[in-house]
Amino acid sequence: MTNGWSLIRIATILVYLFLFAPVAVVILLAFNANQFGSFPIEGFSLRWFDSLLHNDAIVRAFKTSLLLGILTSAISTTIGTMAAVAMVRYDFPGKKAISSLLIAPILIPEVVLAVALLLFLQFLALPKSFGLLLMGHVVFTLPFVLLVVQARLVSIRRDVEEAAMSLGATPIQTFFEITLPLMLPAVMAGMLFSFTISFDDITGTLFWKPGGVETVPTQIFAMLRNSISPEINALGAVMVIFTVAMPLVATAIARRVSAARIKASKAK
């Protein structure tokens, strides 16, 4: 019995090591003073981070990714939330079909989706553009927002909204006063999801990006083709820290805000 358990424990630890060790190595090597990444690390240095800051291509890629991520999450969250409300609260013909259509992008391999969108664009005889890239990211992240918000909305009782309306709130006032605050955690989660997914995405982005535009992942990809520069490790480290820290900071802020709200209402 105990033997079985310790075997499982060891296996689990090994699996996690296997998954996370490369990430740890990348972060460690980012601080390596030596040009050629090898162990043991020779000296601690921030020079690769410094050179990142002075690499125009990387800074531009970072700005592009940031803008793309923010726009994607704003659009996806808005559309996704509205779609979730429609799916959960209203009945209309073709609801099932539309729902499957909106969820499909997670089920279809990303490459297929990428090619499909590209072909569609060609069919319309439109050039690739930042707009298309954004559209691709929105299509791709929408299902995540939709699923998360839908799940939350199902658990919000309809009679709470009905009570609000019986007290004189219009349906729109009810949405902003009651429904939205109650599903806010899910909306925030959807926003974070879509941002990080957009920020990390490479497959679709490679297909959709117009010439000359790079995001952080495609920039790393391009740099890897030439040489393995320690700058890449530094960039990788920044990416990891960014995508891990984002949700943590966001949750912390959300906690703060709700705590402050409770306090404020207590003070009244």
Binding site: R157, A163, G168
Partner: protein, 366 residues
């Protein structure tokens, strides 16, 4: 201004869901200041009717009139109704104060008045100190009081309650029922109360509406409906009744004999005979608690009937006992107060049935 009679009027109201008709030709009035209860088995259309009045469900046919105004097409937020739900439906992210103040915000009430009104609503439901709490910091009974406060603080034209007490445990339910009735009296607001608990319905209502399969079976004062059920369904649904088919013989004086199917003969009154238009084939309804069981053979008065029988089983209910009795080949049930000890199983007894307790209904045609 002419005196208004009815807070709510339903005129031939019908509700269909596709092929299925949930409410059939409902005609109903709710007088001002009165407490009206919808009572009926599950699925009979109580909630549907209430939701149509509230504006939460469309009306398929007919007119809904609230305070002399046809409101079929008026959306819920313009109807000025107080709604209380079975599961309280408080806003979990708002304090009790903000919950109660919610409706006032949409009624151009200034801040000072809001505070004043919320305070008096809290006083009315006897929870003056919970304004700063959140709903999940209150017990179920307290939450339901807040839900009530939130509904009445807007001074609604009609108060609509859908099984507001059924999520509470038995003791609390009784207490809340008294409380609710007190508050309703104090405010004088016309109230529609949905329940499938008959004791609740009998205790609280000015007018009782018994529903079945989307129609009103009977309406009237609780006592009337209880004593003079107009159908076997009502007789059976309210309390426990013995119902037998039978034939009516010629009356002699103030009473007339009724021949029941099994051969038993009972006496009934002229009044009852008139109720069934002197029809020959009738059904006799005798309420379980209107039969007296004793070991004494002599009738209690000369217009009552005594039937010998034997007790098969006894349900001991505390102050009451419920007897299942075989008499002249028929099964009866009787509920009697217990005098020291209930009669034992197998005991030979007599059932005494006064003529006025033998209620007649028209014979089988349903």
């Amino acid at each position: 201004m002419a005196e208004r009679q009815h807070a709510v009027e339903l005129r031939n109201v019908v509700k269909r869901y596709g092929e299925f008709t949930a409410v059939k030709k409902m005609d109903l009035t709710v007088p001002e200041n009165s407490f009206v209860t919808f009572l009926g088995p599950s699925g009979c259309g109580k909630t549907t009717t209430l939701r149509m009045i509230a504006g939460l469900t469309d009306i398929t046919e007919g007119d809904l009139v609230i305070r002399d105004r046809r409101v079929n097409d008026l959306p819920i937020h313009k109807r000025n109704l107080g709604l209380v739900f079975q599961n309280y439906a408080l806003f979990p992210h708002k304090t009790i104060f903000d919950n109660i103040a919610f409706g006032l915000k949409y009624r151009n009430v200034n801040k000072a008045d809001i505070a004043q009104k919320v305070k008096s609503a809290l006083d009315l439901v006897q929870l003056p100190h919970v304004a700063d709490r959140y709903p999940n910091q209150l017990s179920g009974g307290q939450q339901q009081r807040i839900a009530l406060a939130r509904a009445i603080v807007i001074e609604p034209d009609v108060l609509l309650l859908d099984e507001p007490l059924s999520a509470l445990d038995a003791n609390l339910r009784e207490e809340m029922r008294v409380e609710l009735k007190r508050i309703q009296r104090e405010l004088g607001v016309a109230t529609i109360f949905v329940t499938h608990d008959q004791s609740e319905a009998l205790a609280m209502s000015d007018k009782l509406v018994v529903m079945k399969d989307g129609i009103v079976e009977q309406e009237g004062q609780p006592e009337d409906v209880y004593n003079n059920p107009s159908s076997a369904f009502v007789a059976d649904f309210l309390g426990h009744s013995n119902i037998f088919a039978g034939t009516l013989a010629e009356p002699s004086g103030e009473t007339a004999p009724v021949q029941l199917e099994g051969g038993t003969t009972l006496k009934t009154t002229i009044h009852q005979i008139e109720r069934v238009n002197r029809q020959q084939n009738i059904r006799a309804v005798i309420r379980a608690e209107k039969i007296m069981v004793s070991t004494n053979q002599n009738p209690t008065s000369n217009d009552s009937t005594s039937i010998p029988g034997r007790i098969k089983t006894v349900d001991y209910l505390g102050q009451m006992a419920r007897y299942f009795i075989t008499a002249e080949g028929q099964d009866w049930q009787v509920i009697n107060p217990i005098d020291q000890h209930p009669f034992g199983e197998g005991a030979d007894i007599f059932m005494h049935i006064p003529a006025r307790n033998c209620v007649l209904l028209p014979g089988h045609h349903d």
